[in-house]
């Protein structure tokens, strides 16, 4: 466990990235670097009407928190936030937000990338596609490139 602020939320509503950054930086002057990642729903060339995100309530929050704690143990970050939406999400709309703050930029960049890599491979969320042409969509397959991205951090950190 660490003493830094860690915000974890799973919600249907859109998030406010500006407000999350402000909550990790307002009133303090030790933060030199703020990295944010936002994952948006892509339309896959117009074929996608929406993504529907199913999750495992309780475990989703707990697993993201475990990944964030692992990031906080590995890099000198000053704050972390991770917000993941569930439910139906239209192309162009945000799905996930990660924020990492630190004194110097490398820790914030690496912690944010690490958080995303393990959130993708460990947080219990599943995407189902709804097609624009009305065809029943399938469940999105896990990508080997995501496993490879997580593996590059070595060990079993998260």
């Amino acid at each position: 466990m660490t003493a830094i602020p860690i915000t974890i939320r799973v919600q249907a509503e859109p998030f406010d990235s500006e407000a999350e950054v402000a909550s990790l930086t307002a009133g303090r002057t030790d933060v030199g670097a703020v990295v944010t990642f936002q994952g948006l729903c892509r339309s896959e060339g117009g074929s996608l009407a929406a993504l529907e995100l199913e999750h495992y309530p309780g475990m989703a929050e707990a697993e993201i928190r475990r990944v964030a704690e692992a990031a906080a143990a590995r890099w000198p970050v000053l704050g972390l936030a991770a917000i993941h939406r569930h439910g139906k999400i239209a192309p162009g709309a945000p799905i996930v937000l990660v924020v990492a703050t630190s004194s110097h930029r490398q820790a914030a960049f690496e912690a944010a990338a690490f958080l995303m890599d393990f959130l993708k491979t460990r947080a219990p969320f599943w995407k189902k596609e709804h097609h624009a042409d009305g065809r029943e969509g399938g469940w999105v397959d896990a990508r080997e490139t995501d496993d490879a991205a997580a593996a590059r951090w070595g060990g079993n950190d998260a």
């Binding site: 994952g39 460990r122 599943w126």
Partner: protein
């Protein structure tokens, strides 16, 4: 023991959750999958490739060779695709 199903595992089994009494010989995650497969066509279909099924015990990931004897809740699901 409470079992939870997610994504296409849930769709194929046709339930979000159920409570079962495990036979004494079911000790590991792999044992659980093998036993569930015998419970009907829908289970057999959902678990036709047991190697791809992920397990969580009391909301923590576990490997299929780990013991589930102490579990209150086991979840079965496909590889995660969030983010």
């Amino acid at each position: 023991m409470r079992l939870l199903y997610f994504a296409w595992v849930r769709e194929r089994i046709g339930k979000t959750e159920e409570t079962v009494d495990l036979p004494a010989h079911v000790r590991t995650g792999a044992d659980l999958l093998a036993w569930l497969k015998t419970r009907g066509e829908e289970y057999d279909h959902a678990l036709e490739r047991p190697d791809v099924i992920r397990l969580a015990m009391d909301q923590m990931h576990i490997r299929q060779d780990e013991t589930i004897a102490e579990a209150r809740e086991i979840a079965l699901f496909p590889p995660m695709t969030g983010g």
